[in-house]
Symmetry: C2
Subunit: 686 residues, 2 copies
């Protein structure tokens, strides 16, 4: 094959074609444009507080650049991709100081390390997260002193764990999982069973090939009574031989949209006996005389507490979504500055065109907004994670869940739309795998549905908000600082001129009003629907569309805008010029949200006001577009972590792209199926 290729190369004089690209200066030229911007200040503010952990991981990646450069990942087999990510884990994990003590002292350190991995490849990060968050935190949060050794073993990778919660038949409604753990008092053991095919634990990361331990969520049956879902830490593979134990069936879930390197697997139990200590017994125990007991009497509340092991994973998802959105924007913005098309004798960069700026800049603004919510979550994380251990029923924990839920969903949606638009903005070349979008989109798509399906998970936020509002009806006060804006009798801020769309305080008051508007509308609709449907759940379900979903989103956007404003104020204090550039990004975020509004709230504006909003969006797209290359340079993650031919900071788009194409297997080879071409001709001309 190598020989054939060499011959083809010579035969076709290829060395005379792509080998000698002239240096392309287009990206440099775009960097000279726009307003002054202190990239150092912006970068530091934007990447805090996790920059050091990220950077530690990125530097490790630099040590073995080939192992983390995914330019040609798509030509590897599924098995090859799993092997590759195992090599990545082997290279990185041992050097990241992840252990019981370090994580206990600073839980956020673990998040930083994991997200650092996700920046490069969601496969890599996820393979470690299922073990280091889902498995370990489930054991730690739901277990007791006696399970601590499992936690320590796991951090040392003596065990590799997976977390068996969802089943083939149950994803969102985990309370209904079918797997049973039946207590056998005679041996003081549990017998785990998957009673039907849909009871198979499914999509379980690490179960397919890697894990020897599993946290398994089962209906706990004692003396014929179902006490609801409980978790068990159980061995599934022999530590030495790695073979599944008798009574445990393990398989790989097969090909997916992306993330082939993760060994998502299924687990099937048949009369599998585990010792009493397998029960993670923080909230429930079985007494020596065989009686079930729990200090949490309410079965539903107990179930809620079982899910606390998911919170870090959900945080990682919302961090990851923001960063990959940024990666997509990095590629599309740099490419847009280099790619020239139309514009007369001398063609212009496509990033100069108003349509192109309109397509990309609002996503850049949303990326900033997502970064703001990421900062909020990062700031709260350490304290709230410790609180989950100490007082899992605290209102502060509930608030944290509500915030994580809305941002998990919002970041996922932002990310999906941004990656798609960025790919389209790179037109034909955006469809090449060497651009990077194929992988970005396929991998990130999973954010829509994992760790809580977005349309389901966001309901936790609207429920939390409405509960707070309802408490005021009973004379209570709203405690959460994030809900202090609630005032159902507030008036819409006067909107008398276009310039108001560039005043942060006015925008915030408008966003507050907007959220209050949705609360009021939702309450009224809930009442109406309650009269129609009687049943509370049915009423709730019928009030999602156009009401509760919009309410949760508008809340998330309000919180993002407020944090964004603090961010801009801080920047401005350090460097007014930089603050001004980023203030425009913030105004774009806000005005674009208003512009894209489709609900009845939009019609509270008149056509003139609507046009002010639209014009402001267009003007700000233009303004931000002019500065986009400098902005993205400041916040982009390093080239070797992104690995895109179109998005490299040196701007040598065509050279890197053609190199990638020529280096791909079989570029110049004749088809191995040449005989079929001849046979096809014969088939037609019989």
């Amino acid at each position: 094959m190598a020989e054939t290729r060499r011959l083809f190369l010579i035969n076709s004089h290829i060395l005379g074609s792509f080998a000698f690209h002239k240096k392309c200066t287009a990206l440099e030229e775009y960097r000279e444009r726009g307003r002054p911007l202190n990239q150092r200040i912006l970068r530091d503010k934007f990447l805090e507080p996790l920059y050091d952990d990220y950077n530690h991981v990125w530097e490790l990646m630099k040590e073995k650049e080939d192992l983390f450069n995914h330019m040609h990942y798509a030509d590897l087999s599924r098995e090859g991709l799993k092997e590759r990510s195992q090599r990545q884990i082997m290279h990185i994990y041992p050097k990241c100081n992840l252990n019981y003590k370090s994580v206990r002292e600073n839980p956020l350190h673990k998040v930083g390390i994991l997200v650092g991995m996700l920046c490069n490849d969601i496969t890599l990060g996820t393979r470690v997260i299922v073990h280091a968050c889902l498995y370990i935190e489930t054991v730690q949060n739901l277990g007791t002193e006696k399970h601590l050794d499992l936690v320590k073993r796991a951090y040392a990778l003596k065990d590799y764990g997976c977390c068996g919660m969802t089943e083939l038949g149950h994803g969102s409604n985990v309370a209904k999982v079918e797997t049973t753990a039946t207590y056998d008092h005679s041996s003081r053991e549990f017998i785990i069973n998957s009673p039907t095919p849909t009871a198979a634990k499914w999509w379980i990361g690490a179960a397919g090939k890697t894990a020897n331990m599993a946290a398994i969520f089962c209906q706990l049956i004692v003396d014929g009574t179902n006490h609801g879902v409980h978790a068990f830490a159980v061995p599934i593979r022999d530590f030495e031989t790695h073979k599944p134990f008798n009574g445990v069936t393990l398989g790989d879930c097969g090909h997916k949209s992306g993330l082939q390197g993760i060994d998502n697997g299924f687990i099937f139990f048949k009369n599998y006996r585990v010792s009493y200590d397998a029960l993670l017994d923080k909230f429930s125990q079985i007494s020596p005389d065989g009686k079930f007991k729990s200090h949490i009497k309410n079965k539903e509340k107990r179930f809620g507490l079982m899910l606390t092991g998911l919170i870090t994973g959900r945080c990682a998802v919302l961090f990851c979504a923001e960063i990959h959105q940024r990666n997509a924007l990095t590629i599309a913005i740099r490419y847009g500055a280099v790619r020239k098309q139309f514009g007369g004798e001398v063609e212009r960069p496509i990033l100069d065109y108003p349509v192109h700026r309109y397509r990309l800049m609002p996503h850049l603004a949303k990326d900033f907004a997502a970064n703001m919510s990421m900062k909020i979550i990062a700031r709260l994380y350490n304290e709230r994670i410790k609180l989950i251990d100490r007082d899992p029923e605290s209102p502060d924990v509930t608030e944290f869940h509500a915030l994580v839920s809305v941002f998990k969903a919002l970041h996922g949606w932002y990310n999906q739309k941004a990656i798609q638009e960025c790919r389209e903005c790179c037109a034909g070349h955006g469809y090449s795998s060497y651009a990077g979008f194929a992988k970005l989109r396929a991998d990130n798509d999973v954010h829509m549905t994992w760790e809580g399906e977005n349309w389901v998970v966001i309901q936790q936020t609207s429920r939390w908000i409405l509960r707070a509002v309802q408490s005021t009806f009973k004379g209570g006060a709203i405690k959460s600082p994030y809900l202090q804006f609630i005032n159902l009798s507030s008036d819409k801020p006067r909107f008398s001129n276009k310039e108001q769309l560039k005043h942060a305080e006015w925008l915030i008051s408008l966003f507050e009003y907007r959220c209050n508007y949705y609360i009021t509308e939702s309450l009224a609709k809930l009442q109406d629907n309650g009269r129609i449907y009687q049943d509370m759940t049915v009423t709730w379900n019928h009030t999602q569309v156009h009401y509760l979903i919009d309410l949760a989103k508008s809340f998330g956007e309000l919180i993002q805008l407020k944090e964004f404003n603090n961010f801009v104020n801080d920047l401005t204090r350090k460097c007014p010029a930089t603050g001004q550039v980023i203030a425009n990004v913030m105004y774009l975020f806000a005005s674009h949200v208003l512009d894209q509004e489709t609900s009845s709230f939009k019609t509270t504006f008149d056509p003139e006001q609507a046009k002010w909003i639209a014009e402001t969006v267009d003007e700000l797209c233009d303004e931000v577009g002019e500065n986009a290359v400098k902005i993205i340079d400041a916040i982009a993650i390093p080239d070797h972590v992104i690995a895109s031919a179109l998005g490299h900071s040196d701007g040598q788009v065509y050279q890197r792209y053609t190199q990638a194409v020529e280096n791909a297997p079989g570029c110049y080879d004749p088809p191995s199926w040449l005989n079929l071409i001849h046979e096809t001709r014969k088939a037609v001309n019989l």
Copy 2:
């Protein structure tokens, strides 16, 4: 490997787990629900006029079901996928009666056959389209009598052709391609050259591995003068040995987001000499004394005529986008009826939930709308294609281009959003390749940017509309029947009650008003911007966002709605009950368009009216959702063509899905990289 697997199977008692699913009756039960519907009548109306051609291809696929079942396509290598699609071509093409005579008599027959192939796999269809449309129609439309033999050879597959239009550096702006054909009068030959790396012909389907002929678009240089882009039919590979000729470099463009089976390639020319007859000389010739001549004096007009070979491809794209949207909906709707989650002791199908119906039903309605525009294009196709040959400058040809352009873009956008939502609506299992969305999304994504980037191509439609309006300012009359609604002084139809949203005539008049509104707004904005920017092109570019793009879209939606109404009326005549069910789909289409409106047009409604619209959307989603399984059954393409585990008409979702998983390579195998697991442990515990 087989041995290992058998052992694992026995060891893990797997035969006792997935092998015995109970028959699932959920889909059957959903089929019983809703209103009466005559599926035969709906199916016939929906699939005309191309059903016979489609069906012919689908039946051929049934003969070799394994060859067309892409359940496990993703485990094939890139080379393997190319080989596979070559086998598919070999099986189908010879049996489809595609030849010069049959296509000349009924051009639409070719479209039907090609779209029949696309239904199953865009790779397959596209590999034939690049040859049978792009190459053949370019040679036929731009060549003369002497080129007829090339056309006949090509239909007989004696030649396999590709169409070398776009280059590495030029996609949308094809007028600027860099490849040159320099006339050498001494030998009466042309010398073709790719003067820079970006001049490489790029993304050329069939150039990578298959084609021996190419239609190449070059700047024609005669006596040092550039006469603009002209096409040449040139041999690129030796017919027998299949080796590229000296002076021609051919390579494969490598890995893409999807469509790995297509050998998109690049072509590089170095002093490649071709005979005079290679010039496709319908519009331009070089006289025996070496002078360039053309009866089309305007260089730009001449360039426009060079692109006529693209029109069938563009039509195929808009047909394909509709069908694959329908495939995605088929999968998601059937899965939604089978999948149960929440709802109390007995869980309910997720398709019962208002949110779920809201997420899916508008896309079903848009699929119907897209089917309507497909019908319009199919109806016009034969006559207009013949006209392109006879009188390429006819206003009817321009009209056809304008219609194809807006629908190409609209169908692409509908398709992208629908597939994404359908995938998300299948939640976790939607991420599995066996669901079918991974392939659907990755393959269909190309519609956004090929055959005319959507945001660029749709500008042809707004330009055509505004030219028609401008002609009236000079006292002319609008000739196109599709533009008779234009009346810039029309009043907005009175909107006094919610029920009007279920009156077709009122909706049409509102959609007409809406398009007139955008025309008026666009004209005013063009005037404003003209004052600001002076330059016509710059003004045009600055008036796209919020104006011209919306104008073109609103025109497309109006035409779809009108055709939809005719469709419903026809149905109603045949079966009033069926007509009523589909009328609701139409009302949903219209009210959803209004609900999602974000422009200043939305603010011409007041909040009460906006709520009528929103409520109507919600009610109709519910109404259509209840009938969705029956509707989709009527219009779905056959199971063996879709090949989805989740979307099969028998509703045995879990059984088919687990079968696919178990049949995937390596499901029960231990990892081939087991040693790395042990090594990783050691690395941590040094």
